[in-house]
């Protein structure tokens, strides 16, 4: 197989090589296993950079397409069909970028059953990258469901005290949504005799009322994954119980699979339904923003606070996407990346303090800045990024989203954008509140007086994230230009649909 012709296969399945090698290493040689996992994930990252170099950002179409017949079921060809475009390229990079960082964060935290941990982690990476690259609905569904399995084990084996409950809840919730999507996929396959997404977009002429049903079936899967209010209740459990690296990937990438699903499938496949339902999606998104923020404020456990803040932040993403105009969608996609970076960093930060103190209660801390200045400074940057301070990445994303939703024809009212803006203020309140409780004031707890500041490995874990937090905040143009043509193309599909609705 020629490397450059099968680039997407390589980037997806590079971690599999690592898995196979790790399986051959005997138990007990933990450090070898760790380095191998690191090498495999870095290899995938290197390939994804090569992919980026090959990527033509002026071309709105799918690129580096690999399309082969896989098997035929009941006369319908099911294809191994991978492709990347402006909607997915950043998410692929985010995945391959966060995975080595997450693995690095486990260096000291995971000491039991390291081999299995790394195997599941790399398998998870395969599933996630596959989700972002698959262009055949069947193939997509396989990757989508497959991500459940390793994540279930990661939470269930290496998680906190209520890990089994959280793992099963995670599995059942997600599966509940995806089975409805499965039925919709089957229906599409029967009606149009193809599972290839570009073909379906081009040829399928789905009547409006059926579009609504299909939209809802797909949305069930994605809304649970995002998670959108009121389907979010699995998230706090999964996050709190998951090991640090699991939380990083869960928040950083897995949740994006939901929002990505909206852009890749719901909007272009069912444009009329998307236009019609946009106000309702926006309403749920805004409720999520405000609810997530309010609940975050009430948390005493830092990890729970960050988990609920995800509900709020992803509300912004959904709001942007369903503005259905270029700014909104671009902002939404960029905010997916931003949230991956900031929240990923926040979970790593929480994990670092947990490793030292084995508690995450905010009341147990205070004045940490004096004891751990490097840690404090890095946390401050990430906190400010998460609440959307100008000059950092969060601001760029949220601002673009608000801009898009404010003028959105599809949403139809600027009230949503106005309420969402209030969410930005609430984010500042709960994030700063957390920072204050942890880092400011006197060091009044005996246990906190001798805490070690970050070591070199921990600094190396966080610095790459901080680089991108600043980069996107100060100069977001290259990121926007990667996705702009594809987003324009998507919006043009919607233009015709909204004509049909009116």
């Amino acid at each position: 197989m020629d490397f450059s012709n099968a680039l997407l296969t390589w980037v997806t399945f590079a971690p599999l090589v690592g898995v196979l090698v790790i399986l051959l290493i005997p138990n007990g040689r933990e450090s070898v296993i760790r380095w191998l996992a690191m090498a495999a994930s870095l290899a995938a990252f290197a390939i994804s950079l090569f992919l980026l170099a090959q990527f033509d950002s002026t071309n709105p179409a799918l690129q580096m397409v690999e399309r082969r017949a896989w098997f035929s079921l009941a006369g319908v060809e099911i294809e191994y069909f991978l492709g990347v475009d402006g909607l997915s390229v950043l998410l692929v990079l985010l995945t391959t970028f966060l995975t080595p960082i997450a693995i690095l964060s486990t260096w000291m935290a995971v000491e039991e059953r390291v081999k299995e941990f790394m195997v599941f982690f790399l398998l998870l990476e395969i599933g996630m990258v596959g989700v972002f690259l698959a262009q055949d609905l069947f193939l997509f569904y396989i990757f989508w469901e497959f991500t459940l399995v390793p994540m279930y084990f990661l939470i269930g084996i290496w998680g906190g005290p209520r890990r089994v409950y959280a793992a099963i809840k995670f599995f059942l919730y997600t599966m509940a949504g995806s089975i409805l999507m499965l039925l919709a996929i089957l229906w599409l396959g029967i009606q149009f005799e193809s599972f290839a997404v570009p073909d379906l977009i081009a040829t399928a002429n789905i009547p409006g009322n059926i579009q609504t049903w299909l939209f809802l079936a797909f949305a069930a899967a994605f809304a649970i994954k995002v998670p959108m209010w009121p389907l979010h209740s699995w998230l706090p459990d999964a996050h709190v119980e998951a090991p640090t690296a699991g939380s990083v990937i869960l928040a950083g990438v897995l949740l994006k699979m939901g929002t990505y699903g909206f852009v890749r499938f719901n909007i272009p496949l069912f444009p009329q339904a998307a236009v019609q339902l946009a106000p309702y999606m926006a309403l749920l998104a805004v409720i999520g923003i405000l609810y997530g923020a309010a609940v975050s404020y009430a948390q005493k456990d830092v990890k729970k606070l960050v988990a609920y803040s995800s509900v709020s932040h992803l509300g912004f993403v959904v709001l942007g996407l369903f503005a259905l105009n270029p700014q909104g969608i671009q902002g939404g996609i960029l905010q997916m990346v931003n949230h991956g970076l900031s929240t990923g960093a926040l979970f790593i930060i929480v994990g670092m303090i947990y490793e030292r103190r084995h508690t995450r209660e905010m009341d147990a801390f205070g004045g940490l800045w004096k004891v751990m200045p490097i840690y404090g400074a890095m946390t401050l940057i990430v906190t400010l990024s998460s609440m959307g301070l100008p000059g950092l990445n969060g601001f760029v994303g949220e601002f673009t989203i608000l801009l898009g939703s404010f003028g959105s024809e599809a949403i139809g009212s600027s009230i949503y954008a106005g309420l969402a803006a209030a969410g930005v203020i609430l984010a500042a309140i709960y994030m700063l509140f957390m920072f204050q409780k942890l880092f400011l004031g006197p060091v009044d707890k005996e246990e906190n007086k001798n805490l070690q500041d970050l070591n070199l490995r921990e600094i190396v874990t966080l610095v790459p994230l901080l680089v991108f937090i600043f980069w996107i905040g100060l100069y977001p143009k290259p990121f926007f230009s990667l996705m702009a043509p594809s987003v324009e193309k998507l919006v043009s599909v919607l233009g015709t649909a909204s004509m049909a609705v009116r």
Partner: protein, 481 residues
């Protein structure tokens, strides 16, 4: 003519004939060397399997329509013979461990297989009945093979009495059909129905009674009552084979009879089978949640899977969907056979000599103690649930597709929702194996292990590359009567 017909049923002749001879040979094999009987039985099955594979693709009517050889029959014969081989491999060490090793185990198994093979070829209601008895009676005996243990005897008696009852229904049904159509051949029934203006009411009643009899065999709700007790009481190696073979045998008759011979009555059996499918999926999965014994759990799970396969029948009642529905059912039967024999293999490995070690909680710590076996079991559980990349997922995808194609969207919805329910109890096994500490004792028998590995590889490989199995199912056409 007769010779040609005999040649066409060569696989069946080999199995039945060899079993008869083996009964006698076994008398001369010393008690402590019954492995020879097992090996000879396996040899017979392999020979029959070769013959069945060579026949694949032929399509003809034999013995004046009494028997039919078509892709459908060949596909199922390969399934029965493959399952039989795995069953022998699984039984060998297990019987020795339980100290119930007797040569007739293997010959009875072969007789049962010959009944199943006959069932797949049956072109006449009488043949269906004979095949049903031929496959059932050895299973009644095998269920009681662990005598004088009361559970095993109870299982045999229960299975026998309820089975005989179901056979009674079936014979009565056949009599009623014969009474209205003056024939028992499936082709004759088809013609009689086509000639008359609508299906006579008595024939409908007869068909319903036959459905009861076969519904009993495949363990469909509401004829499933025997299943949990018999599955738990019978020696585990028997249960493993029974759950695959008897079910596939029952479906062989159901599919051929309803689709090939009774298409004119589809308006009647379509809704009936639809409700049976919905009820079976729901009850099997819901009741499985409450089980703490793995044999009992797998018994309810086998009921649930009968429900999924049953979905093919109402789908096939819609003209045009029938061929794909049959293929879907056959594919699912194969997927279920692979996954199920693998899962029972793990149960066999976990069962202690005196019959303990069958609680799900006994699996605690298996993930650490026997990582590969636990991984295989986890794979089987995911395949049962229908999570990709496993063959169980492709199977469900195929069956749900047929249901949606037949516009039975609500039935497909019941299917996916009950799959979600099933995730709960299948995952519990995974939870216990990986997430609870424990030091389980397991058997490490090479033959048994190899059946588990084989099933695990099949579950995964056919989940990623289902083409060979799909091609096989594609060739499995029902002959036109």
């Amino acid at each position: 003519m007769l010779l040609e017909d005999l040649l066409s049923i060569l696989p069946l002749v080999i199995v039945a004939g060899w079993a008869t001879i083996l009964v006698i040979i076994d008398l001369f094999i010393p008690k402590e060397r019954k492995g020879i009987t097992a090996a000879l039985a396996a040899l017979g099955l392999v020979a029959a399997a070769v013959a069945a594979i060579l026949q694949f693709g032929q399509s003809k009517t034999l013995f004046g329509g009494m028997l039919l050889l078509d892709g459908f029959a060949s596909f199922l014969q390969i399934l029965f013979l493959g399952a039989g081989l795995l069953a022998i491999a699984q039984a060998f060490d297990y019987l020795r461990r339980r100290e119930i090793e007797r040569g007739e185990y293997y010959t009875l198994l072969m007789f049962s297989i010959s009944g199943m093979m006959l069932m797949s070829m049956a072109g006449d209601l009488i043949v269906i009945f004979i095949a049903l008895e031929l496959l059932s009676i050895p299973l009644y005996i095998l269920s009681g093979f662990a005598r004088p243990q009361p559970v095993s005897e109870e299982a045999a008696l229960k299975y026998f009495i309820l089975g005989a009852f179901a056979s009674g229904f079936m014979v009565y049904g056949i009599a009623l059909i014969f009474g209205t159509t003056a024939t028992t051949s499936l082709a004759g029934i088809l013609n009689a129905f086509a000639a008359s203006p609508g299906v006579p009411a008595l024939a409908m009643v007869g068909g319903a009674l036959v459905l009861v009899g076969l519904g009993f065999k495949v363990a469909a709700v509401p004829f499933h009552m025997w299943t949990p007790d018999v599955y738990v009481g019978a020696p585990t190696s028997v249960t493993a084979f029974m759950s695959v073979g008897a079910k596939a045998g029952g479906f062989a008759a159901l599919l051929r009879m309803l689709i090939a011979a009774f298409p004119d009555a589809a308006a009647a059996w379509g809704p009936v089978t639809m409700w049976i499918a919905a009820l079976t999926m729901t009850w099997g999965n819901v009741a499985a949640i409450a089980q703490s014994n793995i044999k009992r759990m797998l018994a309810y799970s086998s009921i649930a899977h009968a429900g999924y396969i049953f979905m093919a029948l109402p789908s096939a009642a819609v003209a045009g969907v029938a061929p794909e529905a049959v293929r879907g059912a056959l594919f699912y039967l194969m997927a279920y056979a692979i996954t199920n024999l693998g899962a029972w293999g793990v149960v066999l490995a976990m069962e202690k000599a005196e019959g303990a070690g069958l609680e799900i909680d006994d699996y605690a710590g298996l993930g650490k103690r026997r990582p590969i076996m636990a991984l295989a079991m986890a794979l089987f559980m995911l395949s049962f649930t229908g999570v990709p990349p496993t063959v169980g997922f492709i199977g469900k995808f195929y069956l749900f597709r047929a249901a949606i194609d037949a516009n039975l969207i609500w039935l497909a919805l019941v299917g996916v929702i009950t799959s979600l329910i099933s995730a709960y109890y299948y995952l519990r096994v995974v939870v216990v194996m990986y997430m609870r500490p424990g030091e389980p004792e397991t058997q490490n028998e090479p033959l048994l292990n190899s059946t588990v590995w084989l099933a695990a590889i099949g579950t995964f490989v056919f989940g990623v590359l289902p083409s060979p199995l799909l091609a096989l199912a594609h060739m499995a056409e029902l002959i036109r009567l």
